[in-house]
Amino acid sequence: MFEQFFAFASNLVQFTNQEKQLIQSAFTFRQVPRKFRLTEEGKIAREVYFINKGLLRLYYTKEGEDITAFIFKENLFASSYDSFLRKVPSIQTLEALEDSDLLVITYDDMQRLYELVPAMNTLTRKIAEQRFINAQLVLSSYILDSPEERYRKFEAEHGDLLLRIPHYMIASFLGITPVSLSRIRKRLM
């Protein structure tokens, strides 16, 4: 259950065997079914999830409509980070889109792990840097790209998701209607 996490982490940091044991003690292995909500809007997100298997969707609810903020897939950490880090009620919901196998850690256990395993700090920093870059690219794409260009980029980077999740969720992530997404896909075929 931790092989996948350590294989992923080995691209960024090296853990000793003793550190690996500490990490295994800090995380909980949790299996959740599709549609299970890990974080509810209005409640504080107390955990971060490393996805061994499955998909999680982070979304906003506005005027009764879901707006996808991000889809997390295997080998990614997921949470409602604003809520998790600032300990304030989440403005987003985090939900499983598929039956998912997760490695779960609480805020307090993460802080303890930072003290005991310095490489965990490095790992988190490197992941956070990558997330910052990705967030900037998404923002830039909203400002600079046409909906069709945004779709092309999404397809190039996350083409597998087109087969795994309903397209209306992708449309809301791209900031377009499902009808527009359908038109774009037809044009590009």
């Binding site: 259950m1 003793q18 044991q21 003690s25 292995f29 949790r30 299996q31 079914p33 299970f36």
Partner: protein, 149 residues
């Protein structure tokens, strides 16, 4: 940080039904791929005889029940050879999420002078065994079977 293994699974069941399935030790041989049998009474201070499936052999442990909170949790404390070498507090806890959905928490906290070395060898396999049992219990609970079959 304490040495521990902690696993969880979401099960569509009432806490009462899951408690009944989990504490009906007589039925374990029929569904439980990890704890093949438990003899003894689930009450604080009682000694149990647990037969655990580990790879291709059965290991027998005789832990003592530590805590029983009906419909919520129970645990036992066991030792390998003598107390202080490799001790484990094995626990099950049921958290209600909704009237027909619960989270089963299944874990073990380890201590003793050999715990680091032994866990290094058997930690992964033990965690896998917990997960296999969790999945079997989920299947049993969600299939509509009851323990009084």
């Amino acid at each position: 940080m304490n040495k521990r293994i902690k696993t969880e699974i979401i099960i569509d069941s009432s806490k009462e039904k899951l408690w009944e399935l989990l504490t009906n030790f007589n039925e374990y041989p029929h569904w439980n791929p990890f704890i093949r049998s438990i003899e003894g009474e689930l009450k604080q201070g009682a000694r149990l005889t647990n037969r655990l499936q580990t790879r291709d052999k059965i290991m027998v442990f005789k832990p003592i029940v530590q805590e029983v909170i009906p419909f919520h949790a129970f645990s036992w404390m066991g030792s390998l050879w003598i107390k202080g070498l490799f001790d484990g507090r094995h626990y099950f806890s049921i958290e209600e999420i909704a009237p027909n959905q619960v989270k089963l928490i299944h874990g073990e906290d380890f201590s003793g002078i050999l715990s680091t070395a032994i866990l290094k060898k058997i930690g992964d396999a033990t965690r896998n065994n917990f997960v296999v049992m969790n999945q079997a219990l989920k299947q049993l609970a969600e299939s509509g079977a009851s323990s009084d079959r």
